[in-house]
Symmetry: C7
Subunit: 74 residues, 7 copies
């Protein structure tokens, strides 16, 4: 096992903006306010992104961990 | 682990209106009346939303947790 | 955890008519005769619904819990 | 929990004709010869049904439980 | 529980020809050489079937249990 | 249970060429260098196959077990 | 069990460039910075690849293990 762990990315992203891709091709961008070991994630000031453009503002949103495909600090 | 937890969003949403996205692209809006640790959720005065417009009223509806993709207080 | 629980909706729906949505977009309406902790559900006088219209009568039907997306008393 | 249980439908369907819907929209009709707690089911004299018409006879067939969506005595 | 069990079909199919349907609509026919409790199955002289016609011979093939939808002695 | 076991196919395929089908219709051919109980598999000299023709060489590739549908010695 | 294990590929890929295929056909290329037993993976300098061409740079990205289909050192 390497010394760096995947969850370090989640921890260092708290209070920072991330882009999250979900199953089915849905993508959200927002400020990560909370996460847990299941990768359930809360974003504040969240926006749904379609083809790189903002589709709609969602405010606070809870994303279910088992729908998450990728998380990227932006 | 951060101090705030994802389930705090569920707890603070009780008796408030939320939008819930399910697998397969179905979306419901209603007043959250109950939830459990599996993210099974009960909405009252629920409406099914398609492309941002109300498709039909559903009254009370129980949503199965493992179909939930996102939950957003509105 | 809230005092009301999602399974209360199942319990109070016994012997009443419900609409149940399954994965893949299939929907059934019928009288709930039985359920268990896995959300396996038995409907009597069940009808398969497509686009809001009755497609066919099914009599008694057992729905497997892990295919259920939503359950709504009607 | 109600007194009637979903598996009662399976038990009372033994040696009777049932219609079974599987994930992916496949449907079989046949005489239920066996089942287990995983809802693995054996049909004798099975027929694959497409749009309400018999597509082909399959003789005996074992259906894997986690592919089952619904089971209806016919 | 009935006296006959679904796995009896697997056991009695050893060294006999079976048709196996997998998720995604793929179908194989061959002589069952081995199986285990997960429904992992080995076919010898396997052929991939598309719309009832042989698409290609595969020789020996191991099918992963959780992809299996149905198994039918032929 | 039969005396031959499905994993025997994996063991006897070590250092031999296999064709592996994955969920979503992707297929790889290569020399099996390693596997584990989850059916995670490593191929060397791997090629991605589309409609029976080589699409691209991938060198060494690790295939995740729960994406595997079938494995066939070639 | 063979002496080489699938996770050896992950360990030897640390700090090297890999291509990772995800469910739904999404593909990323980047430098592997971290992984864990669930195959959660962190890539640095990640690029999303579509049809063999770079679609967009993503910087650091965390890929959820259960979405991974294949990992190939490049």
């Amino acid at each position: 096992m390497p010394e760096k762990r995947p969850f370090d990315v989640l921890n260092s992203s708290l209070n920072n903006t991330v882009v999250i891709g979900l199953k089915g091709g849905v993508e959200f961008r927002g400020v990560m306010a909370a996460y847990d070991v299941h990768m359930n994630i809360v974003l504040d000031n969240a926006e749904q992104i379609v083809n790189g453009e903002v589709k709609r503002g969602m405010g606070t949103i809870l994303l279910r961990g088992d729908s998450v495909i990728y998380i990227s600090p932006s």
